[in-house]
Amino acid sequence: MGKVFAVLVTLITLISIAFFVMHTWWLPPNISTTGKAVDHQLEETLIGTGVLFLAGQLMLGCFAWMASGKTKDTRAKRFPGGATSVVVTAIVVVGIEIFTLTFVGSKAWGAIYLTPAEPGALRVDVQAEQFAFYFRYPGPDGQFGGLHPDKIDDGSGNYFGLDPANDVAARDDIVVGSLVVPVNRPIALSLHSKDVGHSFYVRELRMQEDFVPGLDIPLHFTATQVGKYEIVCTQLCGLGHYNMKAYLEVMSEPDYEQWLKTQAGQ
């Protein structure tokens, strides 16, 4: 019985690890300047924990195997070093693991969340609502119009609650359904929600941040690859949660300028 268990555990462990090693299912390539550190961190963790996982399961398996054998004197074999060795090993091994991970990891985290966006960054105002993202560019005047929740009217496409009648800055604001940004240019997002909690998740940016109703949350990134990527909501926000998405379109500088012109025209 113990032998069966040992074999089964070993098989499960090896198969599980195999899929990790073979990258059968894997992250999409990173396209942000801060993402590299995250990927590096992930590799570190994968190796470290992979070893622990393998060691733990195999140890369990092989002890179970031994335990099913013919051991005459039960007092004969004690775990070398007894409890103390176990405790010490745990503290040392896991301790080292933790120390290195925190040390390296906090840098990766800091680069994304603790450093402010460059002053020259392109500002985009992001509003999440049930169940879509809308993006606002300041328009030719470089000014964002003020927001008035009481003016919000999806029927007339006024998703943000702008007041063009009285607010000149709001008149040329560009509101679109996808986030279009120039490549290699720092982008500074300001996340705010119209109704409930949502989240901004772009796998390729290695980034996720919640929209919290009542707060404006800053988030900044620099995309290094031209292309079209999905922005999805990861915070349960209601019945359309699964369908709440938008596209991040990273364009070359000229394409972006062209796009901006056409938008301003409408």
Binding site: F53, F63, M66, T74, F79, A90, K194, S199, Y201, G238
Partner: protein, 590 residues
């Protein structure tokens, strides 16, 4: 064996007569324990069926399930789930499993039945409170179930009920009107019940220990229940006011969690200034300790059972107990790791991540102690033993993924993906349930006086063990691809290729679930047909095995056990050729 002492262990009360007092409103902790177990059993099977429905919908979105349209014509027109009904069932699955199964089965059920016996008491410290706490829990259960039958179904805000989604009411979507009210009320009631229960456990452990039962002589399970009840006492004491504030926001128009200027369903909400993050902080201050409320009792149960089958004392009893206490203590400093990307100050993420990683140390110590205790043993592979081994394996698997989620820098990618689902199902749900299974196979003879079928038990183990790995291991891969959880359908371009993986998981889940029917059948069959159990069939040392199976009303037939040893007297030269000493074994006076 027993020594009669005049030391007042528990107040004398006589066995009740009459069905109601005996089986329904009973003061007997053993009956109450069974009642908790029954409630957990009902909940776990409802929860399991819900998970089946969810899995089927994910893998085969267009598959018609006629029975669903019976359950809710609105929620599943023609047997196909609407997105909101998927979320309703998801919420109920989570709520039932976390509160009514993982909190009730290993802690309330087994704790109620065995904590007093293991410390040599006649009953709980406050039998009336004990009865109240069960029936309050039952009331909570009924209220929760009622939400299935209200107009637009159970709430869709998940078991974490994040505000403002859970707070603004019907404008936020179906299920968030009456359904969410019932949810909040039910949880509030559940908190009261758990507080009563925890209070009772603590008082019992402190006051009613038999003569000679020093704290360090208590079995690990008792220790686990004791530590858990302390955690529960403080955790539910925070969730309760949180629920009250939520209910006030919903029904009384206050603004604790709802900020100003929210527009839902084209209506400007009449609230101002509330803080959604406040709910998250209050909830997770309860929510994370809740994880340990679910897992610690199982660890204790495993640590109690394993030595009985390795026939040797567990490695480092003090280290194990110390780790439990350490975890209980640390569990209050880590709640923020659920909120790394919640929009709270990113500095605090680094701060919360440290204790979160540190808490893995006591966890590792416990796992290693359990594993190392197998070394060089001659093991008896009865079903409880197998589930002990299974527990260690899944606990390792689930614990490992904790390393990832404890790091903010990785959480930015993995948060709210199936990686998280895999993590907490392994470490919290499956591990805890393996503890419950082990406990059931181990204590069933004591509870019902009959052994459970070994062959059925073994089938149950192998299928379940293999099954859970097939169900939850692939979810790690889904998480790495960035498959978001709580989606009722996968419409994103990058999710379509993952559907086959989801199909595999669904089929595995259905089969694993079916394997649980073997367990259910085993319970029923053994209850009536199982071979009659002796007083101490497993040759264990703790006090519950020093009385008849099942124990008499006052547990020890009027005697007051006196304890001479710790629970670790295994692999020693016991009386008449046995290899163990009961805790009550009087030392040879030579």
């Amino acid at each position: 064996m027993h020594e009669v002492s005049t030391h007042p262990v528990a107040h004398q009360h006589t066995a009740p007569t009459g069905f109601i007092r005996k089986y329904v409103f009973s003061l007997d902790h053993k009956v109450i324990g069974k009642q908790y177990y029954g409630l957990a059993l009902v909940s776990v099977f409802i929860g399991m069926v819900l998970s089946w429905l969810l899995r089927i919908h994910l893998a085969y979105p267009d598959y018609h399930i006629p029975f669903l349209s019976k359950l809710s014509a609105v929620g599943a027109p023609g047997g196909v789930m609407t997105p909101e009904y998927y979320l309703s069932l998801l919420t109920m699955h989570g709520t039932l499993m976390v509160f009514f199964v993982l909190t009730n089965a290993p802690f309330a059920a087994f704790g109620n039945y065995f904590l007093p016996i293991q410390i040599g008491a006649e009953d709980m410290a406050f039998p009336r409170f004990n009865m109240m706490s069960f029936w309050t829990t039952f009331a909570a259960f009924v209220v929760m179930m009622a939400s299935f039958f209200v107009a637009d179904g159970p709430p869709i805000s998940g078991w974490t009920a994040y505000a403002p989604l859970s707070a603004v009411g019907r404008d936020a979507g179906p299920g968030l009107a009456l359904g969410q009210d019932l949810w909040a009320i039910s949880i509030a009631i559940f908190c009261i019940a758990s507080l009563l229960g925890a209070l009772n456990f603590i008082a019992t452990t402190l006051d009613l220990r038999a003569r000679g039962m020093s704290l360090l002589r208590m079995p690990y399970s008792t220790w686990a229940w004791f530590v858990t009840s302390v955690i529960a006492l403080l955790a539910f004491a925070v969730l309760l006011p949180a629920c009250v504030l939520l209910i006030l926001d919903r029904v009384a128009g206050t603004s604790f969690f709802i900020p100003a200027g929210l527009v839902l369903s084209d209506k400007l909400q009449p609230h101002s200034g509330g803080s959604p993050l406040l709910w998250q902080h209050l909830f997770w201050f309860f929510g994370h300790p809740e994880v340990y409320i679910a897992i610690l009792p199982s660890i204790g149960i495993i640590a109690t059972i394993l030595p009985v089958f390795t026939r040797r004392p567990l490695l480092g009893p003090k280290a194990l107990i110390g780790s439990m206490v350490a975890i209980g203590f640390l569990s209050y400093m880590v709640w923020g790791h659920h909120m790394f990307v919640s929009g709270m100050n990113p500095f605090s993420a680094n701060i919360f991540s440290v204790p979160t990683l540190i808490i893995t140390i006591p966890a590792t110590i416990m796992t290693l102690l359990l594993t190392a205790s197998l070394y060089g043993a001659k093991m008896r592979f009865d079903t409880p033993a197998l589930f002990c081994l299974g527990f260690i394996s899944v606990f390792i698997s689930g614990g490992i993924s904790g390393f990832y989620l404890a790091q903010p820098s990785l959480d930015t990618y993995l948060h709210a993906t199936y990686f998280v689902v895999a993590h907490f199902h392994f470490v919290m749900a499956v591990a805890s349930l393996f503890g419950v299974f082990a406990g059931t196979y181990f204590w069933f003879p004591k509870m019902f006086g009959r052994m459970m079928s070994e062959s059925l038990g073994k089938w149950h183990f192998w299928l379940t063990f293999l099954g859970v790995y097939c169900v939850f291991m692939p979810m790690h891969y889904l998480g790495l691809v960035g498959n978001v959880r709580r989606y009722s359908a996968f419409v994103d371009d990058y999710l379509a290729p993952l559907i086959p993986v989801h199909r595999f998981i669904t089929i595995a889940a259905l089969l694993t679930g079916a394997a649980q029917l073997i367990f259910l059948w085993n319970l029923i069959w053994s209850r009536f047909r199982g071979p009659v159990a002796s007083e101490n069939p497993w040759e264990a040392t703790s006090l519950e095995w020093a009385t008849t199976s099942p124990p008499p009303f006052d547990n020890f037939g009027g005697k007051h056990p006196v304890v001479y040893h710790g629970p670790n007297e295994l692999g020693v030269d016991g009386p008449d050729g046995t290899d163990f000493l009961m805790q009550t074994a009087a030392p040879k006076s030579s």
